[in-house]
Protein backbone atom coordinates (compact mmCIF):
# COMPACT_ATOMS: atom_id res chain seq x y z
CA UNK A 1 0.00 0.00 0.00
CA UNK A 2 1.20 3.46 -0.77
CA UNK A 3 0.15 6.87 0.40
CA UNK A 4 1.30 10.14 1.84
CA UNK A 5 1.71 9.74 5.58
CA UNK A 6 2.28 13.45 5.95
CA UNK A 7 -1.33 14.34 5.20
CA UNK A 8 -2.74 12.48 8.17
CA UNK A 9 -2.63 14.06 11.58
CA UNK A 10 -2.13 12.39 14.95
CA UNK A 11 -4.72 9.73 15.60
CA UNK A 12 -6.16 11.19 18.75
CA UNK A 13 -6.54 14.72 17.47
CA UNK A 14 -7.92 14.23 14.00
CA UNK A 15 -5.74 15.49 11.21
CA UNK A 16 -7.45 17.95 8.92
CA UNK A 17 -6.30 18.16 5.34
CA UNK A 18 -6.10 21.87 4.71
CA UNK A 19 -9.25 23.38 3.27
CA UNK A 20 -11.16 20.13 2.78
CA UNK A 21 -12.87 19.70 6.17
CA UNK A 22 -11.87 16.06 6.19
CA UNK A 23 -10.14 13.90 8.78
CA UNK A 24 -9.38 10.30 9.65
CA UNK A 25 -10.34 9.33 13.18
CA UNK A 26 -9.75 6.11 15.12
CA UNK A 27 -12.81 3.95 15.85
CA UNK A 28 -11.15 1.36 18.06
CA UNK A 29 -8.13 -0.79 17.22
CA UNK A 30 -9.61 -2.22 14.06
CA UNK A 31 -11.51 0.60 12.39
CA UNK A 32 -10.98 4.07 11.02
CA UNK A 33 -13.70 6.68 10.50
CA UNK A 34 -12.97 8.84 7.48
CA UNK A 35 -14.69 12.22 7.54
CA UNK A 36 -15.48 13.16 3.97
CA UNK A 37 -17.33 16.40 4.62
CA UNK A 38 -20.06 15.45 2.13
CA UNK A 39 -22.17 12.57 0.90
CA UNK A 40 -20.72 12.95 -2.58
CA UNK A 41 -17.14 12.42 -1.40
CA UNK A 42 -18.31 9.59 0.89
CA UNK A 43 -19.78 7.81 -2.14
CA UNK A 44 -16.64 8.29 -4.20
CA UNK A 45 -14.43 6.99 -1.42
CA UNK A 46 -16.82 4.06 -0.88
CA UNK A 47 -16.64 3.23 -4.61
CA UNK A 48 -12.83 3.50 -4.68
CA UNK A 49 -12.55 1.14 -1.70
CA UNK A 50 -15.01 -1.38 -3.16
CA UNK A 51 -13.42 -1.42 -6.60
CA UNK A 52 -10.02 -2.32 -5.12
CA UNK A 53 -10.67 -3.55 -1.59
CA UNK A 54 -7.54 -3.27 0.58
CA UNK A 55 -6.37 -6.44 2.31
CA UNK A 56 -8.05 -7.13 5.64
CA UNK A 57 -11.01 -4.79 5.12
CA UNK A 58 -14.18 -6.42 6.45
CA UNK A 59 -16.73 -3.59 6.35
CA UNK A 60 -17.04 -0.32 4.42
CA UNK A 61 -19.97 1.67 5.82
CA UNK A 62 -20.74 5.04 4.26
CA UNK A 63 -22.75 7.69 6.10
CA UNK A 64 -23.87 11.19 5.11
CA UNK A 65 -20.43 12.68 5.79
CA UNK A 66 -18.24 9.70 6.69
CA UNK A 67 -17.03 6.27 5.67
CA UNK A 68 -16.28 3.72 8.41
CA UNK A 69 -13.63 1.20 7.38
CA UNK A 70 -13.42 -1.90 9.60
CA UNK A 71 -10.25 -3.86 8.99
CA UNK A 72 -9.35 -6.37 11.72
CA UNK A 73 -6.54 -7.85 9.66
CA UNK A 74 -4.99 -4.74 8.19
CA UNK A 75 -1.75 -2.96 8.91
CA UNK A 76 -3.22 0.08 10.61
CA UNK A 77 -0.76 2.79 9.67
CA UNK A 78 -0.60 1.52 6.09
CA UNK A 79 -4.38 1.58 5.87
CA UNK A 80 -4.53 5.07 7.30
CA UNK A 81 -2.04 6.28 4.71
CA UNK A 82 -3.98 4.59 1.93
CA UNK A 83 -7.29 6.08 3.09
CA UNK A 84 -5.70 9.48 3.27
CA UNK A 85 -4.52 9.14 -0.31
CA UNK A 86 -7.89 7.82 -1.54
CA UNK A 87 -9.69 10.61 0.29
CA UNK A 88 -7.67 13.18 -1.61
CA UNK A 89 -8.55 11.46 -4.88
CA UNK A 90 -12.23 11.30 -3.92
CA UNK A 91 -12.22 14.97 -2.90
CA UNK A 92 -10.70 16.17 -6.16
CA UNK A 93 -13.33 17.77 -8.44
CA UNK A 94 -11.78 16.04 -11.46
CA UNK A 95 -12.91 12.69 -10.01
CA UNK A 96 -16.27 12.77 -11.79
CA UNK A 97 -16.26 15.28 -14.63
CA UNK A 98 -19.47 13.79 -16.01
CA UNK A 99 -21.61 14.45 -12.94
CA UNK A 100 -23.18 17.83 -12.32
CA UNK A 101 -21.61 19.74 -9.46
CA UNK A 102 -24.91 20.18 -7.61
CA UNK A 103 -26.21 16.65 -7.83
CA UNK A 104 -27.96 15.16 -4.86
CA UNK A 105 -25.02 13.25 -3.53
CA UNK A 106 -22.75 12.10 -6.29
CA UNK A 107 -23.90 8.75 -7.57
CA UNK A 108 -20.79 6.78 -8.32
CA UNK A 109 -19.69 4.43 -11.02
CA UNK A 110 -21.26 1.57 -9.07
CA UNK A 111 -24.74 3.09 -9.03
CA UNK A 112 -27.19 2.76 -11.91
CA UNK A 113 -30.73 4.17 -11.92
CA UNK A 114 -33.60 2.21 -10.43
CA UNK A 115 -37.18 3.15 -11.32
CA UNK A 116 -39.66 2.36 -8.56
CA UNK A 117 -43.33 2.15 -9.59
CA UNK A 118 -45.55 3.64 -6.90
CA UNK A 119 -49.27 3.59 -6.19
CA UNK A 120 -49.70 6.93 -4.45
CA UNK A 121 -52.47 6.07 -1.99
CA UNK A 122 -50.58 6.52 1.31
CA UNK A 123 -52.35 7.30 4.55
CA UNK A 124 -50.30 10.44 5.11
CA UNK A 125 -50.74 12.15 1.71
CA UNK A 126 -53.30 14.48 3.28
CA UNK A 127 -51.11 15.44 6.25
CA UNK A 128 -48.09 16.01 3.99
CA UNK A 129 -50.25 18.23 1.76
CA UNK A 130 -51.41 20.20 4.80
CA UNK A 131 -47.89 20.54 6.23
CA UNK A 132 -46.39 21.61 2.92
CA UNK A 133 -49.29 23.82 1.82
CA UNK A 134 -49.54 21.89 -1.45
CA UNK A 135 -52.40 20.02 -3.07
CA UNK A 136 -52.20 16.22 -2.83
CA UNK A 137 -51.61 16.01 -6.61
CA UNK A 138 -48.72 18.42 -6.25
CA UNK A 139 -47.19 16.35 -3.42
CA UNK A 140 -47.26 13.31 -5.69
CA UNK A 141 -45.90 15.25 -8.66
CA UNK A 142 -43.01 16.69 -6.66
CA UNK A 143 -42.09 13.34 -5.11
CA UNK A 144 -42.13 11.67 -8.52
CA UNK A 145 -40.10 14.50 -10.04
CA UNK A 146 -37.37 14.39 -7.38
CA UNK A 147 -34.04 12.91 -8.44
CA UNK A 148 -32.92 10.69 -5.60
CA UNK A 149 -29.64 9.03 -4.80
CA UNK A 150 -29.20 6.38 -2.11
CA UNK A 151 -27.24 8.12 0.62
CA UNK A 152 -26.68 5.25 3.01
CA UNK A 153 -28.53 2.35 4.60
CA UNK A 154 -29.50 1.99 8.23
CA UNK A 155 -32.41 1.52 10.63
CA UNK A 156 -33.14 -1.91 9.14
CA UNK A 157 -31.52 -4.23 6.58
CA UNK A 158 -32.14 -2.75 3.14
CA UNK A 159 -33.55 0.55 4.45
CA UNK A 160 -32.05 3.14 2.10
CA UNK A 161 -32.03 6.85 2.96
CA UNK A 162 -32.80 8.54 -0.35
CA UNK A 163 -31.38 12.04 -0.63
CA UNK A 164 -32.70 14.56 -3.13
CA UNK A 165 -36.29 15.10 -1.95
CA UNK A 166 -37.94 18.29 -3.22
CA UNK A 167 -37.43 20.82 -0.37
CA UNK A 168 -41.15 21.67 -0.39
CA UNK A 169 -41.78 18.14 0.89
CA UNK A 170 -39.45 18.30 3.88
CA UNK A 171 -41.90 17.48 6.67
CA UNK A 172 -41.29 16.14 10.18
CA UNK A 173 -41.87 12.53 11.19
CA UNK A 174 -45.11 11.50 12.82
CA UNK A 175 -45.33 12.48 16.48
CA UNK A 176 -46.33 8.92 17.31
CA UNK A 177 -44.67 6.25 15.13
CA UNK A 178 -46.83 3.45 13.74
CA UNK A 179 -46.28 0.09 15.39
CA UNK A 180 -46.21 -1.58 11.99
CA UNK A 181 -45.58 -0.21 8.52
CA UNK A 182 -46.04 -2.71 5.66
CA UNK A 183 -43.09 -3.72 3.47
CA UNK A 184 -43.02 -1.70 0.25
CA UNK A 185 -44.40 1.47 1.85
CA UNK A 186 -42.99 4.59 0.19
CA UNK A 187 -42.46 7.29 2.78
CA UNK A 188 -40.80 10.62 3.51
CA UNK A 189 -39.36 12.33 6.59
CA UNK A 190 -37.14 15.41 6.80
CA UNK A 191 -34.99 15.66 3.66
CA UNK A 192 -35.29 11.93 2.86
CA UNK A 193 -37.53 9.41 1.18
CA UNK A 194 -37.42 5.64 1.67
CA UNK A 195 -39.06 2.34 0.76
CA UNK A 196 -39.69 0.16 3.83
CA UNK A 197 -37.78 -3.05 2.99
CA UNK A 198 -39.78 -5.19 5.42
CA UNK A 199 -42.65 -4.69 7.82
CA UNK A 200 -41.44 -2.72 10.83
CA UNK A 201 -42.43 0.05 13.21
CA UNK A 202 -41.91 3.43 11.62
CA UNK A 203 -42.53 7.13 12.01
CA UNK A 204 -42.11 8.29 8.42
CA UNK A 205 -45.11 9.70 6.51
CA UNK A 206 -46.58 7.26 4.00
CA UNK A 207 -47.14 8.51 0.45
CA UNK A 208 -47.82 5.20 -1.26
CA UNK A 209 -46.59 1.68 -1.89
CA UNK A 210 -44.61 -0.33 -4.40
CA UNK A 211 -44.57 -4.00 -5.36
CA UNK A 212 -40.86 -3.78 -6.16
CA UNK A 213 -38.86 -5.74 -3.59
CA UNK A 214 -36.00 -3.62 -2.36
CA UNK A 215 -34.74 -6.30 0.05
CA UNK A 216 -34.45 -10.06 -0.49
CA UNK A 217 -32.05 -12.14 1.60
CA UNK A 218 -32.00 -14.80 -1.12
CA UNK A 219 -30.78 -12.35 -3.74
CA UNK A 220 -27.16 -11.41 -4.31
CA UNK A 221 -26.78 -8.59 -3.48
CA UNK A 222 -29.76 -8.66 -1.09
CA UNK A 223 -30.39 -4.91 -1.35
CA UNK A 224 -31.73 -3.41 -4.58
CA UNK A 225 -30.61 0.05 -3.49
CA UNK A 226 -26.94 0.12 -2.36
CA UNK A 227 -25.33 3.48 -1.60
CA UNK A 228 -24.84 5.62 -4.69
CA UNK A 229 -27.78 4.18 -6.66
CA UNK A 230 -29.94 6.77 -8.43
CA UNK A 231 -33.66 6.35 -7.83
CA UNK A 232 -36.82 7.71 -9.45
CA UNK A 233 -40.38 7.03 -8.39
CA UNK A 234 -42.93 6.60 -11.18
CA UNK A 235 -46.67 6.97 -10.53
Amino acid sequence: MTGDLGVTGPRTTPGRAAGTGTAIRPAGEHALLVETGSLEVAHRLDALLRSDRPAGVEEIVPGPETVLVVAPGADRSGLEALLSSLLRTASAPAMSPASPAKDAGGATAAGGTVEIPVVYDGEDLRSVADLSGLAVDEVVARHAASEFVVGWLGFAPGFAYLAGLDPALHVPRLDVPRTSVPAGSVAIAGPYSAVYPSASPGGWRLLGRTDLRVWDVRADPPALLPPGTRVRFTP
Partner: protein
Protein backbone atom coordinates in the same frame (compact mmCIF):
# COMPACT_ATOMS: atom_id res chain seq x y z
CA UNK B 1 -31.76 -33.23 15.71
CA UNK B 2 -32.34 -31.43 18.99
CA UNK B 3 -35.71 -30.70 20.57
CA UNK B 4 -35.91 -27.63 22.76
CA UNK B 5 -37.56 -28.68 26.03
CA UNK B 6 -37.02 -25.29 27.66
CA UNK B 7 -35.14 -22.27 26.25
CA UNK B 8 -34.45 -20.69 29.64
CA UNK B 9 -34.68 -16.88 29.83
CA UNK B 10 -33.28 -16.32 26.30
CA UNK B 11 -31.33 -18.59 23.99
CA UNK B 12 -30.40 -18.26 20.33
CA UNK B 13 -28.44 -20.03 17.61
CA UNK B 14 -25.16 -18.20 17.01
CA UNK B 15 -22.10 -18.58 14.83
CA UNK B 16 -19.56 -15.85 14.04
CA UNK B 17 -22.20 -13.64 12.41
CA UNK B 18 -22.53 -11.94 9.06
CA UNK B 19 -19.90 -9.18 8.88
CA UNK B 20 -19.57 -7.42 5.53
CA UNK B 21 -23.16 -6.24 5.06
CA UNK B 22 -23.02 -3.14 7.27
CA UNK B 23 -23.41 -0.85 4.24
CA UNK B 24 -26.75 -2.55 3.54
CA UNK B 25 -27.98 -1.93 7.09
CA UNK B 26 -27.26 -5.46 8.33
CA UNK B 27 -25.81 -5.87 11.86
CA UNK B 28 -22.81 -8.20 12.17
CA UNK B 29 -24.50 -10.33 14.85
CA UNK B 30 -22.83 -13.63 15.91
CA UNK B 31 -21.87 -14.89 19.37
CA UNK B 32 -21.69 -12.03 21.88
CA UNK B 33 -18.71 -13.79 23.52
CA UNK B 34 -17.14 -15.18 20.35
CA UNK B 35 -14.03 -16.70 22.01
CA UNK B 36 -16.27 -18.93 24.14
CA UNK B 37 -18.20 -20.19 21.10
CA UNK B 38 -14.91 -20.80 19.28
CA UNK B 39 -13.58 -22.76 22.25
CA UNK B 40 -16.72 -24.90 22.54
CA UNK B 41 -16.47 -25.66 18.81
CA UNK B 42 -12.80 -26.59 19.03
CA UNK B 43 -13.52 -28.95 21.91
CA UNK B 44 -15.87 -31.03 19.73
CA UNK B 45 -13.61 -30.81 16.68
CA UNK B 46 -15.77 -28.32 14.78
CA UNK B 47 -14.51 -25.39 12.76
CA UNK B 48 -14.64 -22.37 15.10
CA UNK B 49 -17.29 -20.82 12.88
CA UNK B 50 -19.86 -23.60 13.37
CA UNK B 51 -23.24 -22.62 14.77
CA UNK B 52 -23.94 -23.38 18.42
CA UNK B 53 -26.40 -22.22 21.06
CA UNK B 54 -25.92 -19.09 23.14
CA UNK B 55 -27.83 -19.18 26.42
CA UNK B 56 -28.52 -16.19 28.65
CA UNK B 57 -28.63 -17.00 32.38
CA UNK B 58 -28.56 -20.71 31.48
CA UNK B 59 -31.79 -22.56 32.15
CA UNK B 60 -31.84 -24.49 28.87
CA UNK B 61 -33.10 -28.06 28.54
CA UNK B 62 -32.57 -29.93 25.24
CA UNK B 63 -33.41 -33.47 24.13
CA UNK B 64 -31.09 -35.16 21.65
CA UNK B 65 -32.84 -37.51 19.18
CA UNK B 66 -29.49 -39.06 18.28
CA UNK B 67 -26.26 -39.40 20.24
CA UNK B 68 -23.91 -36.44 19.90
CA UNK B 69 -20.61 -35.03 21.17
CA UNK B 70 -21.19 -31.78 23.04
CA UNK B 71 -19.10 -29.17 24.82
CA UNK B 72 -20.03 -26.08 26.80
CA UNK B 73 -17.92 -22.98 27.35
CA UNK B 74 -18.47 -19.46 28.59
CA UNK B 75 -20.37 -18.70 31.81
CA UNK B 76 -19.93 -21.83 33.98
CA UNK B 77 -23.13 -23.66 34.96
CA UNK B 78 -24.11 -26.92 36.62
CA UNK B 79 -24.83 -29.20 33.64
CA UNK B 80 -26.50 -32.61 33.54
CA UNK B 81 -26.34 -34.90 30.54
CA UNK B 82 -28.89 -37.74 30.71
CA UNK B 83 -28.94 -37.37 34.48
CA UNK B 84 -25.15 -37.34 34.90
CA UNK B 85 -23.24 -34.22 35.97
CA UNK B 86 -20.75 -33.07 33.33
CA UNK B 87 -18.13 -30.33 33.40
CA UNK B 88 -17.62 -27.12 31.49
CA UNK B 89 -14.99 -26.82 28.75
CA UNK B 90 -14.83 -30.59 28.30
CA UNK B 91 -16.36 -32.66 25.48
CA UNK B 92 -18.83 -35.37 26.50
CA UNK B 93 -21.04 -37.89 24.77
CA UNK B 94 -24.79 -37.35 24.96
CA UNK B 95 -26.58 -40.70 24.43
CA UNK B 96 -29.51 -41.07 22.05
CA UNK B 97 -32.72 -39.69 23.57
CA UNK B 98 -30.80 -38.05 26.40
CA UNK B 99 -31.72 -34.71 27.89
CA UNK B 100 -29.22 -31.94 28.54
CA UNK B 101 -30.02 -29.60 31.43
CA UNK B 102 -28.06 -26.39 31.88
CA UNK B 103 -28.50 -24.68 35.26
CA UNK B 104 -27.94 -21.07 36.27
CA UNK B 105 -24.41 -19.77 35.73
CA UNK B 106 -22.29 -19.41 38.88
CA UNK B 107 -20.68 -16.40 37.25
CA UNK B 108 -20.92 -14.68 33.91
CA UNK B 109 -24.05 -14.44 31.76
CA UNK B 110 -23.77 -16.34 28.47
CA UNK B 111 -22.98 -20.04 28.08
CA UNK B 112 -22.20 -21.61 24.70
CA UNK B 113 -23.10 -25.11 23.63
CA UNK B 114 -21.40 -26.67 20.63
CA UNK B 115 -22.48 -29.94 19.04
CA UNK B 116 -20.10 -31.94 16.86
CA UNK B 117 -21.23 -31.20 13.30
CA UNK B 118 -22.85 -27.88 14.25
CA UNK B 119 -26.45 -26.69 14.38
CA UNK B 120 -27.82 -26.97 10.84
CA UNK B 121 -30.52 -24.29 10.60
CA UNK B 122 -30.67 -22.56 7.21
CA UNK B 123 -28.09 -19.79 6.86
CA UNK B 124 -29.21 -16.25 6.01
CA UNK B 125 -26.63 -14.02 4.30
CA UNK B 126 -23.98 -16.60 5.12
CA UNK B 127 -24.76 -16.94 8.82
CA UNK B 128 -27.02 -19.02 11.07
CA UNK B 129 -27.03 -16.37 13.80
CA UNK B 130 -30.20 -14.91 15.25
CA UNK B 131 -29.95 -11.15 14.93
CA UNK B 132 -32.09 -9.76 17.73
CA UNK B 133 -32.11 -6.26 16.22
CA UNK B 134 -33.17 -6.95 12.63
CA UNK B 135 -34.82 -10.35 13.03
CA UNK B 136 -32.52 -12.01 10.46
CA UNK B 137 -31.71 -15.67 11.07
CA UNK B 138 -33.70 -18.22 13.05
CA UNK B 139 -36.09 -17.09 15.79
CA UNK B 140 -34.93 -17.38 19.42
CA UNK B 141 -35.29 -20.87 20.90
CA UNK B 142 -38.72 -21.76 22.26
CA UNK B 143 -40.15 -24.91 23.81
CA UNK B 144 -40.98 -27.53 21.18
CA UNK B 145 -38.70 -26.08 18.53
CA UNK B 146 -36.57 -28.61 16.64
CA UNK B 147 -33.01 -27.76 15.58
CA UNK B 148 -31.38 -29.84 12.85
CA UNK B 149 -27.79 -30.94 13.28
CA UNK B 150 -25.08 -30.67 10.65
CA UNK B 151 -24.01 -27.82 8.48
CA UNK B 152 -20.43 -27.54 9.72
CA UNK B 153 -17.50 -28.71 7.62
CA UNK B 154 -16.22 -32.25 8.35
CA UNK B 155 -15.01 -32.27 11.92
CA UNK B 156 -11.49 -32.83 13.18
CA UNK B 157 -10.76 -35.50 15.80
CA UNK B 158 -11.68 -34.61 19.37
CA UNK B 159 -8.25 -34.11 20.81
CA UNK B 160 -8.62 -32.38 24.19
CA UNK B 161 -10.32 -33.70 27.34
CA UNK B 162 -10.65 -30.41 29.18
CA UNK B 163 -9.67 -26.79 28.64
CA UNK B 164 -9.02 -24.12 31.26
CA UNK B 165 -12.01 -22.06 32.29
CA UNK B 166 -11.42 -18.33 31.96
CA UNK B 167 -12.32 -15.88 34.72
CA UNK B 168 -15.55 -13.85 34.72
CA UNK B 169 -14.74 -10.82 36.88
CA UNK B 170 -17.74 -8.86 38.21
CA UNK B 171 -15.94 -5.50 38.00
CA UNK B 172 -13.39 -5.79 35.20
CA UNK B 173 -11.28 -2.93 33.90
CA UNK B 174 -11.87 -2.61 30.20
CA UNK B 175 -9.50 -0.99 27.69
CA UNK B 176 -10.89 1.87 25.59
CA UNK B 177 -9.45 3.51 22.50
CA UNK B 178 -10.61 7.16 22.63
CA UNK B 179 -12.69 8.51 19.76
CA UNK B 180 -13.87 8.90 17.11
CA UNK B 181 -16.03 11.60 18.79
CA UNK B 182 -14.31 12.20 22.12
CA UNK B 183 -14.08 15.87 21.11
CA UNK B 184 -17.88 16.11 21.52
CA UNK B 185 -17.47 15.75 25.29
CA UNK B 186 -16.30 17.99 28.11
CA UNK B 187 -12.92 17.37 29.79
CA UNK B 188 -14.92 16.45 32.91
CA UNK B 189 -16.76 13.77 30.92
CA UNK B 190 -13.50 12.21 29.76
CA UNK B 191 -12.20 12.19 33.33
CA UNK B 192 -15.48 10.69 34.55
CA UNK B 193 -15.44 7.98 31.87
CA UNK B 194 -12.08 6.71 33.06
CA UNK B 195 -13.03 7.17 36.73
CA UNK B 196 -16.17 5.06 36.88
CA UNK B 197 -17.29 2.62 38.00
CA UNK B 198 -20.34 2.01 35.83
CA UNK B 199 -23.11 -0.40 36.73
CA UNK B 200 -24.64 -2.75 34.12
CA UNK B 201 -28.35 -1.88 33.72
CA UNK B 202 -31.11 -4.47 33.34
CA UNK B 203 -32.08 -3.16 29.88
CA UNK B 204 -28.85 -4.61 28.46
CA UNK B 205 -29.12 -7.17 25.66
CA UNK B 206 -27.26 -8.47 22.61
CA UNK B 207 -27.46 -5.03 20.98
CA UNK B 208 -25.68 -3.25 23.79
CA UNK B 209 -24.77 -3.08 27.45
CA UNK B 210 -26.45 -0.08 29.04
CA UNK B 211 -24.44 1.53 31.80
CA UNK B 212 -25.36 3.64 34.82
CA UNK B 213 -22.76 5.90 36.37
CA UNK B 214 -21.15 9.29 35.95
CA UNK B 215 -23.02 11.36 33.34
CA UNK B 216 -20.95 12.20 30.25
CA UNK B 217 -21.71 15.81 29.32
CA UNK B 218 -21.29 17.19 25.84
CA UNK B 219 -19.03 20.07 24.94
CA UNK B 220 -21.10 21.03 21.91
CA UNK B 221 -24.67 21.45 20.81
CA UNK B 222 -26.35 19.96 17.79
CA UNK B 223 -26.72 16.58 16.22
CA UNK B 224 -24.11 14.34 14.68
CA UNK B 225 -24.97 13.05 11.20
CA UNK B 226 -25.49 9.30 11.26
CA UNK B 227 -22.21 7.39 10.91
CA UNK B 228 -20.84 3.85 10.93
CA UNK B 229 -20.50 2.15 14.32
CA UNK B 230 -17.81 -0.34 15.34
CA UNK B 231 -18.23 -3.35 17.64
CA UNK B 232 -17.49 -2.18 21.19
CA UNK B 233 -18.36 1.46 20.43
CA UNK B 234 -19.34 3.42 23.56
CA UNK B 235 -22.24 5.47 22.28
CA UNK B 236 -23.54 8.29 24.45
CA UNK B 237 -27.19 9.34 24.01
CA UNK B 238 -28.24 12.83 25.13
CA UNK B 239 -28.93 11.62 28.71
CA UNK B 240 -25.18 11.04 29.12
CA UNK B 241 -25.38 7.37 30.20
CA UNK B 242 -23.19 5.29 27.86
CA UNK B 243 -24.07 2.12 25.93
CA UNK B 244 -21.40 -0.39 24.84
CA UNK B 245 -22.36 -1.92 21.50
CA UNK B 246 -22.32 -5.73 21.30
CA UNK B 247 -22.80 -8.13 18.36
CA UNK B 248 -26.30 -7.04 17.25
CA UNK B 249 -25.50 -3.31 17.29
CA UNK B 250 -26.93 -1.14 14.50
CA UNK B 251 -24.36 -0.62 11.74
CA UNK B 252 -24.94 3.15 11.79
CA UNK B 253 -25.93 5.49 14.59
CA UNK B 254 -26.43 9.15 15.32
CA UNK B 255 -25.09 9.58 18.85
CA UNK B 256 -21.43 10.41 19.36
CA UNK B 257 -19.03 7.58 20.24
CA UNK B 258 -16.66 8.69 23.02
CA UNK B 259 -14.43 5.63 22.68
CA UNK B 260 -14.35 2.02 21.51
CA UNK B 261 -13.74 -0.94 23.82
CA UNK B 262 -10.65 -2.94 22.86
CA UNK B 263 -11.67 -5.94 20.80
CA UNK B 264 -10.12 -8.38 23.29
CA UNK B 265 -12.25 -6.97 26.11
CA UNK B 266 -15.64 -6.98 24.31
CA UNK B 267 -16.34 -10.64 25.24
CA UNK B 268 -15.73 -9.79 28.91
CA UNK B 269 -18.27 -6.95 28.69
CA UNK B 270 -20.73 -9.36 27.03
CA UNK B 271 -20.46 -11.63 30.08
CA UNK B 272 -21.41 -8.96 32.64
CA UNK B 273 -24.77 -9.30 34.38
CA UNK B 274 -27.16 -6.55 35.35
CA UNK B 275 -25.86 -5.23 38.67
CA UNK B 276 -22.21 -6.02 37.84
CA UNK B 277 -19.82 -3.12 37.29
CA UNK B 278 -16.97 -2.15 35.01
CA UNK B 279 -14.28 0.49 34.81
CA UNK B 280 -12.76 1.96 31.67
CA UNK B 281 -9.04 2.43 31.10
CA UNK B 282 -7.69 4.59 28.30
CA UNK B 283 -5.39 2.80 25.84
CA UNK B 284 -3.55 3.98 22.76
CA UNK B 285 -3.53 2.09 19.50
Amino acid sequence: MIEVVSPGPYATVQDLGRPGYGHLGVPRSGAADAPSLRLANRLVGNPESAAGIETTFGGVALRFAAGAWIALAGAPCAVEAAGRPVGMCAPFWMPEGGELRVGLPYEGLRTYLAVRGGIGVDPVLGSRSTDSLSGLGPPPLRAGMVLPLGGAEPAAPIAVDVAAQRAFPRCPTVGVVPGPRDDWFTPQALTALYGGPYEIATESNRVGVRLRGPVLGRAREGELPSEGMALGAIQVPPGGQPIVFLADHPPTGGYPVIGVVQSGDVPMVAQLRPGDHLRFRKVRT
